[in-house]
Symmetry: C2
């Protein structure tokens, strides 16, 4: 049982190659020799540095999740319920939240294949998390849920908790489904680079969500 100490050069090269290969062919579909070859390293180093294939996979996952700083960091926390301007702040907060959420999910440097692969890997883990990766995943997702629900409560104080939860599920769901089903969506559109205009995509999700939530400001033309 080696303590898996670091030698950053080959370690990080192995992790990078692992992200690429695990994203392309999945955990079981990828062999450690393949990964090692992609890193110009010997396959025995996987066991030496990471205590085995699964250890390397977890390190790759951690690297993926810590690749970007959380986009929630720049967001104002919602004002308390009674405060003046709380509703307007929550409205802007929800808009900013969706923008940050979508940007993090969708935006990746097309010129950086590792970034692209990291997104694929993350999407796969979010859909069917392995037992080992669940904690890492939940810790990453939890602040999003909390922030979203706080905004929803301020925007629709007339709804009960279950109704608000369904609202949140629908808002998150449309975005996550889009991300998780990009494969077939691109097939349906016959465009392998489909979401070409990220801003248009963000605007759609914001408008659809605010209308679905029942926020009057977002509705196009109030019936006379």
């Amino acid at each position: 049982m080696a303590p898996c100490p670091p030698h950053q050069d080959t370690r990080s090269r192995l992790i990078e190659s692992a992200i690429l290969h695990f994203a392309a062919k999945g955990y079981d579909g990828t062999g450690i020799r393949e990964i090692a070859k992609g890193a110009n390293a010997n396959s025995a180093l996987v066991t030496y540095h990471f205590c085995g294939k699964e250890g390397l996979f977890l390190e790759a996952l951690k690297a993926v999740f810590s690749r970007k700083t959380s986009p929630l960091a720049g967001l104002q926390p919602p004002l308390p319920a009674g405060a003046p301007g709380a509703r307007q702040a929550a409205l802007e907060g929800l808009r900013a939240y969706l923008r940050a959420f979508i940007t993090e999910l969708m935006f990746c440097d097309a010129r950086d294949p590792v970034d692209e692969a990291a997104m694929v890997l993350m999407a796969r883990e979010m859909q069917s998390p392995s037992e080992a990766s669940a904690p890492v995943l939940m810790a990453h997702v939890e602040p999003y849920v909390t922030y979203l629900m706080a905004c929803l409560f301020l925007l629709r104080p007339d709804l009960d908790e279950e109704a608000l939860f369904l609202m949140g599920t629908s808002i998150q769901g449309q975005v996550l489904h889009f991300r998780n089903s990009l494969g077939i969506i691109r097939l349906l559109r016959g465009n392998p680079a489909f979401p070409e205009d990220l801003e248009k995509l963000i605007q759609h999700f914001i408008d659809f969500s605010l209308r679905g939530l029942g926020v009057p400001e977002a509705f196009p033309q109030p019936r006379n």
Copy 2:
């Protein structure tokens, strides 16, 4: 090159076991001996009946998609664009579509673990379709997309094709995400039988979708 003729008994037993195992551990994570054992059959029969593991996987996928009669069967096709009452018909069509879609998705799991596994398998393929499975997947999804898009076009003729496609993606996405993430959602709510009131759920998805789409009838209270 065997012509792969049928002997329905073992064939279907193998397919059923394949659905369960492929859903649980993925294509690469599942061995044919494992599948064969689950079907009380010999692993050589996989090659004999399906020309190999990949053939069995494709047959399993086909079986998944043809497992139920399409919920679209009972729906009226939307009227042509110019026809009188076409918009109202499309509105009702969309409501009926969502009701049928949700009902089918929500009722499939508890009774039959194979049905549950089929959903997992389908979701995985939708996320990252293998080259071989893409045609099967597309053929199954296409009528849903067509019907939904026809309704959306009648309800929002002012939008261009891409905007309508995003609307459809959001509408389908919230429902599919809810279904595919039921496990996590039930954990979040601390209620293992969460969607206890199916009618309430259906009503939420219909209302959220129609508002998100921008249909005035669904909006609660126009601002004065």
